[in-house]
Amino acid sequence: MTDDMGTPEDSVVEPERSGLRANLRALYQCTNDFDFTRLFKRGLVIAVLVSVISIISLFTRGLNLGIDFKGGSVWEVPVTDVSVEDARDVMEGVGLGDAKIQLAVNADGTKILRVQADVTEVDASREVTGDLADLAEVPVSDIAVNTVGPSWGDEITRQAQRALVYFFIAITLYISFRLEWKMAVGALVSMAHDLLLSVGVYSILRIEVTPATLISFLTILGYSLYDTIVVFDRALENSSRTVAKTPYRVIMNRTLNQTLMRSVNTTVATILPIISMLIFGALLLGAKTLQEFGLALLVGLTSGAYSSLFVAAPIVSWLKEREPKFAYTGEAPVAMAAAVDGEAPGRPARRGAARRPVTPAAPVGAIPPRPRKTKKRK
């Protein structure tokens, strides 16, 4: 223990001794103090690996683009007793034998015949609609049709790319202005990681990419950024209050501990509705669009939570440690945590502070000392 203020009961070591329950309690009580920096290298390596796999898959397998991107038509026909073979016969009759045909059964027992074919002309598509209506013996108006021209996909891809580039530029400027350019770099790399990972999952599992997927990816970027900014804002606050020369990873580690519960709780609160969307909306009620949204969001949120911790934070630490004030000297980050917490001059440490009523107007010289766990709480 290099922490001269630490005691044997210090929460620094406590969680590792007492197992999961104590860890959780420490989290709930805001006394957690994990050493994230130990995992920085491993975390970054995993992130790089995953990104590389995604890139390889993108180049070799490509993406399973929906008709909105490559042109074509999709029909959704409510059916009672029409088989895939019947539909195949109809499609072969109009020279579309290579159509993709699926029969989906919803939880309430209704069946939907989903036919996808390479028809980009509205007139031709209407003809097929008529044939399918005859087959299923339903009025034409009961059939959902989506026909997309061959060049439309390029158009929306171009739009999305443009939006993405502008978004990255705007965010870089914004973070550089409100926080620091080094943090902008961290945020950008972390967003790029989330995007790559999400696209990679879609490429590897051959999940169809639709405009809904596109929206979800953009949302993911938003969440990831939000997460990263919350962490960085705190890191900035912490570093500005740290007077002594302190390795940046120590500051970052303390920050990550401080913001961990916020990240976890936000992620849980966000993921609950999304899981509900997937399970109840998509699986039980068969709303395909909800499934498209939900899947990408789930992947992206998980990735976003990971990258805030193990991509954005290490990169910023590494960049900041090139400044003399924050250079890394070799100490264990957790052991040095007190430097971030309580080395402000003239500040009474620990228990004394716990009882002392502090007015909001109190000089904000430093982050108040992290209280040490009492023996009674064990």
């Binding site: 026909t147 021209g149 939006a163 926080l179 953009l218 900014i229 969307m277 998509a282 709303a287």
Partner: protein, 573 residues
């Protein structure tokens, strides 16, 4: 001191509930997008570069007029960049709408040089070969007063038509239509191909013809075969659409409802375009039985004069219009090829008659009135959602949203206890406010709530909860560090709120960019994300802060750390 902070809270709650009540009283409710209630959506883009903004705006206006004329409720026709988005929620007769929107090509009038049967039905050139069945080919354009004068020797006209235009027109069922409208000036049409009628050349016809004047010498004569039919026809025996130019001689077809070729026409260069028309209406003739279409031309040089120049040539059966028929061409298809019955027309006294029923007459009138789009728009995406599927999606979205909300509520209350309750109340109020805004924008600006928007709302639960979590975790940390709950609320809030603003601003930047740089569903999503982010900021300031302050001052709860879900330092030491 006690009252500090209560005022904004009361104001916010009263404002939210008040606007909510107002929304219900006025009867505003969110306008459902077509993916939630069924309908038709068409994305159109110009074919080739657009020269100026005005032409696109004009095109949007024309489409809007067409849709309005169809009587669609709450159509949403917007221009986003160079893209035109047509959304028609709740439309049931989808085919008809697609047809009317689909007819976006430039309308033109071309003289008929020859009439040909469909490929595979060629017959020897005999008189009156009964190769056609549809009526439009036999339509007749009648002159002034045509509607009132129905005493024409119609049978002779019909026969003459049969004689005069080899293989073109069928007597019989069409005769009725002709009878009703043929005028006294009619039976002068004896023109076989290439025949001029000397007596009819009274009106001065420019030697080079009306429209052909601009095209003189342009056409490569090598394109034509000996019999005057252009080369390079496709399988259907018509000129491929990419070779249809205003100055070429082309073969175009008239089609029946299923798109099959009924008659083919060899057409001369475009005589005039739809620009010359100012309007058109459909109506019954005097007898009240037959449907007519009455186009109205603009006055002067660019309107009726052009038409009359072409009409005079056709009436005279000049070489540029030997059949006396002037075809109305839309989207490379012949809509109708009426026979010209007089050489000069008043601009508002023209009738097109034929085998129309009410629907086809009105459709032709619509096409004539709004057909002349200044730019050709190509449908890029056409989506039809059935009403039942839309309802299912809406139900799925609602069920998923409610369950998701329930889970979040359980989690927040379970973890943060009383503070969690504050979060849930705040979430409810925020939702009410977003509902008010969506309803208001739906009624006033036509903003439709799509499935993408519903997803945006479900997702915004997370954003809203996050503001609470950032604040509460800060509170807990400060309390853990020895401050009392009461003393730290303001300090924690100040620090958390700057963080929330920084993060929310990033979200807003994203939403703003997405809104202006994208089209369709992404746009709706971005708007809702933006709205809920702003509402969240407002609620955080005006509700969460004062509500937590009140809790902190409450003698009952301010020290009840367990009920607040906080680490209890006092008890622990």
């Amino acid at each position: 001191m006690r009252r500090k902070g209560v005022l904004p809270l009361v104001f916010f709650v009263v404002f939210t509930l008040g606007t909510l009540a107002w929304t219900f009283i006025v009867g505003n409710s969110p306008v459902l997008g077509l993916d939630l209630q069924g309908g038709v959506s068409v994305v159109l883009q110009p074919d080739g570069p657009v020269e100026n903004e005005d032409t696109l705006n004009q095109a949007v206006d024309i489409i809007r007029n067409r849709i309005d004329a169809l009587g669609v409720a709450e159509p949403d026709i917007t221009r986003q960049g160079e893209t035109v988005l047509v959304q028609l929620p709740g439309v049931e007769n989808q085919d008809r709408v697609l047809e009317v929107i689909g007819q976006t090509a430039v309308l033109s009038f071309r003289p008929v040089l020859q009439t040909l049967p469909p490929v595979g039905q060629e017959v020897p050139t005999t008189t009156g070969a009964p190769t056609t069945t549809a009526g439009d080919g036999a339509t007749t354009t009648t002159g002034p007063g045509g509607a009132t004068t129905t005493t024409a020797p119609s049978t002779s006209t019909t026969e003459e038509l049969g004689l005069g235009a080899p293989g073109a027109l069928t007597p019989g069922e069409n005769a009725a239509g002709l009878q009703a409208t043929t005028t006294t000036v009619a039976p002068t049409t004896t023109g076989a191909p290439g025949t001029t009628v000397p007596g009819s050349t009274a009106t001065t016809v420019p030697a080079d013809g009306a429209g052909a004047g601009e095209c003189a010498g342009v056409e490569d004569q090598a394109r034509l075969r000996q019999n005057g039919v252009p080369r390079g026809l496709n399988d259907e025996g018509v000129t491929p659409s990419d070779e249809v130019e205003p100055c070429n001689t082309v073969v175009l077809a008239e089609r029946d409802e299923d798109g099959n070729v009924v008659t083919r026409f060899v057409l001369g260069p475009t005589a005039l375009t739809g620009d010359a028309l100012s309007g058109a209406s459909a109506g019954l003739d005097q007898s009240g039985v037959t449907w007519l279409v009455r186009p109205t031309f603009r006055g002067g040089e660019d309107g009726i004069d052009k038409f009359n120049a072409a009409a005079a040539q056709c009436f005279a059966a000049a070489p540029t219009c030997p059949t006396t028929q002037l075809a109305i061409v839309l989207d490379d298809d012949v809509i109708s090829a009426p026979q010209i019955q007089t050489d000069s027309f008043e601009r508002d006294q023209i009738q097109i008659s034929g085998d129309f029923d009410e629907s086809s007459a009105k459709d032709l009138a619509l096409v004539l009135e709004y057909g002349a789009l200044p730019v050709e728009l190509v449908p890029q995406q056409t989506q039809t959602v059935s009403a039942t599927l839309g309802e299912d999606s809406l139900r799925a979205g609602l069920v998923a949203g409610i369950i998701g909300l329930g889970l979040t509520v359980i989690f927040m209350v379970g973890y943060y206890r009383l503070l969690g309750v504050v979060a849930v109340v705040s979430l409810t109020l925020e939702f009410a406010l977003v509902w008010v805004l969506i309803s208001y924008l739906g009624e006033s600006r036509g903003l439709a709530l799509t499935l993408a928007g519903v997803t945006g709302l479900i997702v915004s639960i997370g954003i809203s909860v996050d503001s609470n979590v950032v604040f509460y975790e800060h509170l807990k940390e400060d309390v853990r560090n020895g401050r009392t709950f009461r003393s730290t609320v303001d300090r924690s809030f100040g620090s958390s709120f700057t963080t929330i603003i920084k993060a929310d601003l990033a979200s807003l930047i994203g939403a703003f960019l997405l809104y202006f740089l994208s089209v369709g569903p992404v746009r709706g999503f971005a708007l809702l994300l933006g709205i809920s982010t702003v509402v969240d900021l407002i609620a955080t300031w005006f509700f969460i802060r004062p509500a937590v302050l009140i809790l902190a001052r409450s003698p009952r709860y301010r020290n009840n750390y367990a009920a607040l879900g906080m680490p209890n330092v006092e008890a622990g030491s």
